[in-house]
């Protein structure tokens, strides 16, 4: 063994390369390969089976002329914006409350986070039951004597999204709380001492000092919550099935139905490509803020 020559580049570190084969295959075949495949076939007229007949941008024109797709996009936009704002606000408030050197901190944290351990299907079904107008919250309040009380968001096309939102927030705000709490704990205790000496009230310290210091936590949370919003599917399936009518349709469900129910593959491909484009618009500013900004700071 002592007189071996310089190993060739390919066999250097061979075991590590073999161990990395699954990663390489996943990266190239699935993440790059499958995405590119879908994008390419979105320019064909595939219906039941993938077809190679090129139709240019026809599928996209048709997609943007489809009422159901437009509703899905609008729904996701409304749900997404409200979800982001409310999840961040509620999550931060929960974290700030828990961070007040309280007793039973672990107990409260456990309670706020447990919905996150449940599936979206379970979440959707529970809230479907709670929001059932005949037997749920509405009924319970009416039984108390408020005969005209009305709370049935899931059965009204104008409010169904807010019903889904309530369930979504119940599921996700605990996660945001956890991330925010970690951020709050990462702030030096001396900051609090300094602001106390300067006589700055606590609420002002949060807004002026603490929140700006937690910028990276907010950005990471934003990205995590956003990528969850775009994937929104199971919750809608379980809670409303997209109804009433088309009132709670979302893009992920549109894609699924086009591909596996309506036998309109290329529409599904075009719609999922649009989802990818949307994600890229989220990721690029984030990557810029996270990695581009560091060079200057």
């Amino acid at each position: 063994m002592s007189q071996s020559g310089k190993p060739t580049a390919l066999f250097k570190n061979l075991s590590a390369k073999i161990a990395a084969i699954p990663m390489v295959l996943t990266a190239l075949m699935v993440f790059v390969g499958c995405s590119v495949w879908t994008i390419i076939y979105s320019f064909t007229n595939s219906r039941l089976l993938p077809s190679a007949e090129w139709v240019g941008l026809d599928q996209y024109e048709r997609l943007w002329g489809t009422r159901r797709w437009l509703i899905s996009i609008e729904n996701l936009a409304i749900y997404g914006i409200l979800m982001l704002i409310l999840a961040l606000v509620i999550g931060f408030l929960l974290a700030a409350l828990i961070d007040q050197k309280i007793r039973f901190e672990d107990g409260f944290r456990t309670i706020f986070l447990y919905p996150y351990a449940l599936s979206f299907i379970v979440t959707g079904l529970v809230w479907q039951w709670l929001l059932n107008p005949e037997f749920g919250i509405q009924n319970a309040v009416r039984n108390l004597g408020f005969e005209t009380f009305s709370f049935d968001p899931l059965y009204n096309p104008d409010t169904v999204l807010y019903g889904v939102l309530i369930a979504g927030l119940w599921h996700t705000s605990g996660l945001v709380m956890c991330l925010m709490l970690a951020g709050l704990r990462g702030i030096d205790e001396d900051v609090w001492k300094a602001t106390k000496i300067d006589g700055i009230p606590a609420w002002k310290t949060y807004i002026v000092v603490v929140i700006p210091m937690m910028r990276p936590v907010f950005i990471t949370t934003l990205v995590l919550v956003t990528s969850g919003i775009i994937k929104l599917y199971d919750l809608v399936i379980a809670q409303t099935g997209g109804g009433p009518g088309l009132a709670s349709e979302v893009p992920a469900k549109f894609v699924f139905d086009m591909m596996f129910v309506s036998q309109n593959l290329a529409q599904g491909f075009a719609a999922s490509t649009m989802m990818l484009v949307a994600v890229i618009f989220v990721i690029i500013p984030w990557a810029y803020l996270e990695f581009g900004g560091k060079k200057h700071g």
Binding site: A9, N13, S15, A16, A19, A20, M23, T26, L28, V30, F31, C34, T38, P50, L97, D99, Q100, K101, I102, D106, R109, T110, I111, F112, Y114, A117, L118, S119, I121, V122, L125, Q128, W129, L130, N132, F135, I137, G174, C178, L179, A182, G183, L184, R185, I187, E189, W192, V217, K231, D234, I237, A238, G241, F256, G268, F269, A271, M275, L276, V279
Partner: protein, 305 residues
């Protein structure tokens, strides 16, 4: 952000960084506890309602109040949900979905963690040219909506004869679990002192010996975190289950949704809630047993590479 995990491990009350310590019964304190208490009730309410509904008879549900405890406790809805409720033509209850989920989750958790841990180890200690390119693609891939990739994967699985099998679904879970788990393990192994790795190489250990004899025993806590993370995620999965398996292999989530949202027959709300609770038993048990490790698992998702 990289210190999210370490912060989580701090003993909490002593290190809480809130404005100032206060006396036990100050006015502010009472306010904080009241708010927290009300919020806790809001978060617990769905669970409470699920449990109460599942223990009532149908007649009582129709006439009563969902928040009221059952006047007469019955376990019949649970029995029915587990053993006899029908989905399509099968009338053997959710137990079928439960065992399917076990058959899906156990190998998926095992393979995804086995692959990702070796991967993270290779990336942190045996860096080779180009490794970081693939790792970057992997992490970016975690943000691609699944909808973009689901159909071509159907085509791929059909090609290799795994479409509709449990094997195919296990493969899909292994692939999609890879980014977050690889990140988790890579970050962990990067924190292991490099000299330990060097010492093992001087002692004549190679790639696999170092992995199995040195790194694996050291990394037990992070393996536990990974198992918690993956078991919960795979057990709760709906989308992959519905696409890549056939009805007889449907996981619990898919079967549950089919039972509750079926349009035929009388709606048995008590059975539905029992079924819903049954589907939540596994992740909830893991959640309550794992405590802070669960939190570490989610925090891992927030730690960038």
């Amino acid at each position: 952000m990289a210190d999210v995990t370490t912060n989580m491990r701090r003993p909490s009350p002593a290190h809480a960084s809130g404005p100032k310590p206060r006396r036990a019964f100050s006015r502010k304190n009472i306010m904080i506890y009241s708010i927290l208490f009300v919020l806790a009730v809001y978060y617990l309410l769905p669970f409470y309602v699920m449990l109460m509904t599942s223990l009532k008879g149908l007649a009582e549900i129709r006439t009563g109040n969902i928040f009221a405890p059952p006047m007469e406790i019955t376990f019949e809805p649970w029995a029915k949900a587990w053993a006899t409720v029908c989905t399509g033509l099968n009338c053997d209850g959710l137990s079928r979905g439960f065992w399917n989920s076990v058959k899906i989750t156990v190998p998926s958790v095992f393979f995804s963690i086995a692959v990702a841990s070796v991967n993270g180890y290779a990336l942190s200690m045996w860096r080779f040219k180009g490794a970081n390119v693939f790792f970057t693609i992997l992490i970016i891939g975690a943000f691609i909506p699944y909808q973009v990739m689901i159909y071509p994967i159907v085509v791929l699985l059909r090609e290799i004869g795994l479409y509709g099998n449990l094997g195919g679904l296990v493969l899909v879970h292994t692939v999609f679990g890879m980014p977050i788990l690889t990140l988790l393990f890579r970050n962990y192994f990067s924190s292991v002192p490099e000299e330990l790795f060097k010492a093992a190489r001087v002692d004549g250990a190679r790639f696999w010996t170092i992995y199995f004899k040195i790194m694996l025993p050291m990394a037990v806590p992070i393996f536990v975190v990974a198992v918690i993370l993956q078991t919960t995620a795979i057990w709760n999965d709906f989308l992959f289950g519905v696409i890549y398996t056939r009805p007889e292999n449907y996981p619990m989530t898919v079967q549950l949704n089919n039972i509750v949202n079926s349009v035929t027959g009388v709606k048995e709300y008590n059975v539905n809630m029992a079924a819903t609770l049954l589907s939540g038993v596994v992740p909830l048990t893991i959640y309550f047993l794992s405590g802070k490790l669960f939190v570490r698992g989610i925090a891992a998702g927030a730690v960038k590479g």
